[in-house]
Every structure is written in structure tokens, then in C-alpha cells.
Amino acid sequence: MYLTCEEEATLSGEFGTAKQKAMEILVALGDIYGADKLIAVESSQIAGVSYKTIGEAGLEYLTQLNGRVVIPTTLNPMGMDKFKWEELGISADFHAKQMDIIESYERLGINSECTCTPYYKFAPLRGSHISWSESSAVSYANSVLGARTNREGGPSALASALIGKTPNYGYHLDKNRVPTLLIKANFELKDSDYGALGYVVGKIVEANVPSLFFVSIPKNDDLKALGAGMAATGAVALYHINKIVERPVDVIEVERGDLDIYSFEEPDIVAIGCPHCSQSELMKIAKLLEGKTVKKPLWICTSREVAHASPHTVEAIENSGAKVICDTCMVVSPAFEGRKMMVNSGKAFAYGPSLCKSRTSLCTTQGCIDAACSA
């Protein structure tokens, strides 16, 4: 891989150990993936923030890092709501370790907004190169916003944040962004169907670039759920909607019956917001909760940014007894572990059993609200 004089100097340690290690990471990845050079990226989004996920291993690594990021960088959800952690049943020990992790990131100059939906605050422009690591955010940025990123790991996104560059391979290149598979959904989809579809087809699509044809017209919230599902059960970083494919590719036809993963099992807890809810999703939930009172814990996960922008909607939701929580989610927080959980998200349905050791059932948003409000 070609390196500029400055990049060579960074690799030799002329700008300090943190940047040297970061450059070693980028160069190794560039070699592994056949990149011709490094390219500048405009922002970085770092996965591996929750103490539940990265544990002592990640904490030990982060606390010894010294440096400053050179591009706008945000974080993925952590293991708790920064302020409502006690309400969530998080222990003081966990809280202390989690804050150590956040402080380590902040010391590097990273904005500790913890969300998988950073694009609601700042959406990368079409064609811009970024280095993001959370799989649903990567999918949304590539597919809905038309930006360009690979599915980075937490450490490689961090390396990009310290250097401001990434190796030029994968989805940064036009040739890798063309559809390699066609998926036709021959029925109307709505609400949680998109996430369910993502869950079901992800395993088949793996790391292909699908072009999906729908009968119904998906909105951005629908695409967010679809992308998250496909990224969870598969390795889909980019998909297209209604894009004609020039060359012969496999076609997968999906029928309504293929989404037979819905179930109703009386839950202990209901969790919505994987990925984090948008403003419109919060409003929809507030409407469904109007005049109702929850009888079971109902947690609505969103970014602090979106919650702050929607104070009346948050208030309306919480009038029912439901809780709007920020900075975290049901997948990376220990608060949801070992409980029977109902979700409306294909991605949460995929991760619930493994990461939360929870019996997880997938239901529609209305079904989730109904379950939370019934005794």
C-alpha cells in the first residue's frame, strides 16, 4: 500500500506512540484487504463502549491510550443511561467501570454521545467517506445516506479517528457497491415487518450487496430496521432499493409466510428502540400509549439528542409509566439480562438470546404496547 511521507513518518513514531500504533493498524488492514492507499475520512463512529461488551479487556486498553482524535468522533451505546442508571438496576461497580471507559474516550477528545443513530444529529453527505463501526449505523450510512464506509471494528474505527484516514478498500470503491443479489418481497410490509425481513434474509445474504424490491414504499425508519436486521444475522453493510441489476445474479423471492418469526409470549419486560428511536418513532409510540398505563416495565431507547429535541413526546410517553432511556439499549446493557423480553426489532430479536441470555419474542409495535399495558 502506498504511504505518503507524512504517513511513513507517523508509522515510524515521529508523532507519538498512539498515532504510530493507529497507523500500524491501518496499514495492516490495508495490506489484508488489498488497499492501494489511505484516504481521508470525515467522521468516525466507535463500537465497543459498553462495559458489558468490552469488559476489563477493553477498559485496560483504553485507559492507557494517549492521543487526540482529529475528526468528529461519536460512540456507540454504553451499558446504561448516564443519569437513570440506578433506575435500570445497574450496580455501582458497573457504573464506575462504565464511567472509566467513557472518561478514557473523552480524554481522546471524543464526544461521548452514545448512540447507534449518530446520523440524526449529523448526517454524512452522499459520497463522503467515513469510518463507522456499528453495523446498523454502517448500513444506514451506506444505503440510506449514500455515504461510504466499511464495517469497521471498534479498534480500527478508533485508529481512523486518531489518524483521520482509512484504507481505501471495500465499500469505499465504486466496484464493490453494485448489487450482487436480488430480493423480492411480494407482499405489503409495515412496522416491524422490515426488521423481521432483515433478520430472515440476513443469513442468506451474508456479505452480499442486495437490491430489494418492495410492493410497499419503505420510509427511512423502515429502512433503518431492515438494515439493522440484515447486519445482525448477516454481514450486510450496503443494500439498494429498487435498483435494477445489470448482470445475472441470484434472485430470492420472499413471501409473507417466510416472516414466521413473530410470537407472543408473555414478557417480563418490553423494550423498543433497536436501533435507537427516531423522533417520528417516539411520536408514534406516544400516540399508541395515549390514555394507557403500563403494567410491565416498558423501556424506549433513543439517543440523548433525539430525546432532548422531543421533550413533550418524551413526557407523553412517560405519563403512561413507560421510561425513555438514553445512551444505552437492551442489547448492550446488563439491565435486560436473563428476563423474558419482547421487542419489535429484528436486530434485538437476533441478539436477545445470545447477548442478553433472554428469552426474546418478536412482536409488532402495537403488540409490544399491548403486552406492556396488560396485567
Partner: protein, 139 residues
């Protein structure tokens, strides 16, 4: 007799030790206990073996990118492999080896999981990108 096998340098440094070889990919998050350096993945063919100080030879890494941090923790605890040899490195192990200063070489002229046997003396040169193997059978 020492055989030299050329490969690709991924993480620099030189180290030697006894080889521990597997044909199963390794997910450092989950398969390895960072507190003991022992393989705990119940379905892994090396389950129960210690990787501490070994030249760990396996096809590639898999699983969560947290695996990179597990390698770091192993090194910090003094329980890391002395070096790693992969058939084809992927991001998790490559990044983990780099941040932990564990020499790593991949893309060798021969499949290392066939050419190297558990118990062989192996010297890994991650700076130049080659390994030296002395079969245990000839000792």
C-alpha cells in the same frame, strides 16, 4: 533441520517457542479465558489447552472485534501467545496482535496448519515476514 517459510508481516517483532496448532478458527472473545490463557470454547478442538507462551498457529480469527481487546488483556496478564501464525489474518487478530505487540505472520508459502505440528520449535519474525520451523520429530 530448520525450515524457513516466507509469509507476510502483519505485526512486528520476533519471538520463538513451542507450536500449538489447530485447524479451527479462534474467536478470542469467548474461546479464550483472558484470566488463565486457557482455551475454554467448549466446541474448540484445543479446549483445555494453554496458549501461554506458545506459537499459536490457526487459520484465522472470527467473532467479535472485542477479541482484539482480549489479546491485549492476555498480553497485559503475561498470558499471551509468544507469537501467532495465521493462514490468512483477518481484522480482529491482526489488530489485536498489533496493539499487544505480539508478532504475527500470515499468507505463508505453505499452509502453516499442515506444515507445523504441535510441539515443533518455531521462531516467528513479524518484522521481516517469515518463520523458522524445527520439527519436534527430529529432536
Amino acid at each position: 533441520m530448520i525450515t524457513i517459510i516466507k509469509g507476510r508481516k502483519i505485526s512486528k517483532g520476533v519471538a520463538e517457542g513451542k507450536a500449538l496448532v489447530t485447524k479451527n478458527p479462534i474467536s478470542f472473545l469467548g474461546d479464550i479465558d483472558p484470566k488463565t490463557g486457557i482455551v475454554v470454547g467448549p466446541n474448540h478442538e484445543l479446549c483445555g489447552c494453554s496458549i501461554v507462551g506458545k506459537i499459536l498457529v490457526f487459520p484465522m480469527g472470527k467473532g467479535s472485534t472485542v477479541g482484539s481487546y482480549v489479546l491485549y488483556q492476555l498480553k497485559k496478564n503475561g498470558l499471551a501467545p509468544a507469537a501467532i501464525v495465521n493462514k490468512y489474518s483477518e481484522a480482529i487478530v491482526a489488530v489485536g496482535a498489533i496493539i499487544s505487540d505480539i508478532p504475527l505472520v500470515d499468507c505463508l508459502e505453505e499452509d502453516p496448519t499442515i506444515s507445523i505440528e504441535t510441539g515443533d520449535n518455531v521462531r516467528v519474525n513479524g518484522t521481516e515476514g517469515y518463520i523458522e520451523v524445527e520439527s519436534w520429530r527430529k529432536q
